[in-house]
Symmetry: C2
Subunit: 156 residues, 2 copies
């Protein structure tokens, strides 16, 4: 029965604006049943929201980079994510295992803007940085393949 939730999530991952009518046709359920299920998936946090996929070239942020950071003072409390949250060029922040403590994904307008951003990151979080510039992106934001029996087990 949770097979249907999987289908719904997969379909919404591919097209976040798909109508309930279309979801109903694809799943073989009535419109109101699909409606109910989508709302439940949203409430459970399985579907966390909806977003437009933006072309960063077109909005003036053609340069993507991964910035790995490491604290200058390893004894200091680690609140780097909070200290960096105000920098809107940072799209994502992942705490990672390994030599460095976080990997940031950043989007900027130009090499100079990247230089400036790196200075702000170092100053705001008291970290050293190691930057890997993205040259091109063959693919991104691909929809996940959802395992059977995976949906509907709340993790929160």
């Amino acid at each position: 029965m949770e097979e249907i939730d999987r289908r719904i999530v997969t379909l919404l991952a591919k097209d976040g604006r798909m109508s309930f009518t279309d979801l109903a046709r694809e799943t073989g359920l009535s419109v109101s049943a699909v409606h109910q299920r989508v709302r439940r998936l949203e409430k459970r946090g399985v579907v966390r929201g909806y977003t437009a996929v933006i072309d960063h070239d077109a909005i003036g942020l053609p340069l993507t980079a991964f910035v790995s950071i490491k604290p200058i003072d390893p004894a200091a409390p680690d609140d780097a994510p909070d200290r960096l949250a105000h920098l809107t060029a940072i799209e994502a922040c992942h705490s990672v295992a390994g030599d460095e403590s976080y990997i940031l994904k950043v989007r900027v307008a130009s090499p100079v803007a990247l230089e400036d951003l790196l200075q702000q990151i170092r100053a705001a979080a008291n970290v050293s940085t190691r930057t890997t510039v993205v040259l091109s992106t063959p693919y991104e934001h691909r929809a996940p393949e959802i395992a059977a029996e995976a949906v509907g087990h709340p993790t929160a």
Copy 2:
């Protein structure tokens, strides 16, 4: 005037299912004017699509990692993205500057699944891998701050 397109893109990045009626109220335009602009942004490729943001814990893919790959034979033609595209655990593939050639973002169910995936990656693309496991994600998918005068200059 392109200020309005910026607002529309920003609003849709935050809520990809926002109705044209709400977009019209937020921008001060009529519904049909907003409708026209959104369709134009989609056609220009500024808005590339819409997607649901999924909680990977809830769908049974709680383990995220970054996998950097390097060709075993640097002289061979580099078609790694094509050779890896069938692996649905790979969410993104970025060509990068630096010691390695690509950074992959992957989502799997467990450490064992990661081990298996790494073998598949090495076999499919004839590469060595270096893996950085994500421990937690303070934030991700943050909406970009769109620069003035950035929207409406087609890049294609």
